[in-house]
Symmetry: C2
DNA sequence: TCGAGACGGTACTGATCGGTACCGATCATC
DNA sequence: GATGATCGGTACCGATCAGTACCGTCTCGA
């Protein structure tokens, strides 16, 4: 197991970056929380920016798997994504979507972190589009609108901290699909 | 005009914070850009956090006035907000909504900056609710859904940089109001 | 048994962070 | 023409930033 420290760093980074923000968490903090030595960190990553990108990719993979599971449990209904969100919106430590947060913090749209975060949304859109076409919805714009609704609910939950935005977004999604 | 320096600081802060992020802009930078002396800054504000809150409030006032004007120019149609967004989404330096960005950067939901940013969305919701009721839409949840759609479009535009998210959100809003 | 590689810990760098103290210049009012 | 408020500029503070260098330790395979 040569890369045990790397996993610990990624786990700590995912937690800390999500809870407090990317810029707010220094390397020192990451080292103490993960229990990884300073040199080991720079052996596994080129620097903090590299860790940030790796963390976003890790988050994206976990998040997509989580969503895939939720949708699969609902017999492939993509609207189950809203119910999955609703269940997490009430948490006191809810901080929105790490991908959105990363795009906000990494202001430069050409930065690796910003692009990695945008990639997550592309993957999410692709996943939802597949689910929609499997259910007979061929309009490719529907998946993008679903993501728009998911993101809108997520941002709203950032200040409301209740399941309501997810329910409201789901109502709009139902209306949209009923019309399509 | 005793507070000339204060205005210059607010203007510089609004620009820099929006373009690069709150944490990314140091006090040094604010001073050189605004041309204000270090002492003058701390005479007008208790510190950077105080300036951040004042900047958010200033942004909120400007933004609401801008939206009010756009809606008024469309004979009070609240959906004109989507057209106003669409016009700004394509800009190369578009960075989303300063209020959303501030809520993301100020992770602590009890922080003054986070609360000030949330206040903006409350004021926006109130404004849209007034416009909706004036047009015969009494369901109070409609205004919240409009804000959800506006925020969803804004976040989407952060990575798409085109007017499309605004158009898509407007379609959903039209569908919603037609149904109500 | 011995080396190689991964590891944690510490010391250190230059730069920047937010914030304080003090300076002299400017300007309006009396 | 003196007074007081506001101003820009600079020096400085301790703390923290990301990053580098080097140390001794542990484990594992040859």
């Amino acid at each position: 197991m040569p890369t045990q420290a790397r996993e610990r760093l990624l786990r700590a980074a995912e937690e800390l970056f999500y809870a407090e923000g990317i810029r707010a968490v220094g390397v020192e903090r990451l080292l103490t929380v993960s229990g990884v030595g300073r040199a080991s960190f720079y052996r596994h990553f080129d620097g903090k920016d590299d860790l940030v990108v790796a963390t976003i990719r890790s988050y994206s993979a976990h998040r997509l798997a989580w969503l895939r599971e939720a949708v699969a449990a609902a017999d492939g209904d993509p609207l189950a994504a809203f119910d999955a969100l609703a269940a997490s919106f009430g948490a006191p430590d809810y901080r929105g979507c790490a991908s959105i947060n990363a795009m906000v913090e990494a202001a430069d749209p050409a930065s690796a972190a910003h692009l990695a975060a945008a990639d997550h949304k592309i993957a999410l859109t692709t996943f939802l589009r597949d689910r929609l076409t499997a259910r007979g919805h061929t309009d490719p714009g529907l998946a993008e609108k679903l993501v728009l609704l998911l993101d809108g609910a997520t941002v709203t939950a950032l200040r409301e901290r209740s399941a309501r935005p997810a329910r409201q977004a789901r109502e709009l999604a139902e209306l949209m699909l009923a019309r399509a």
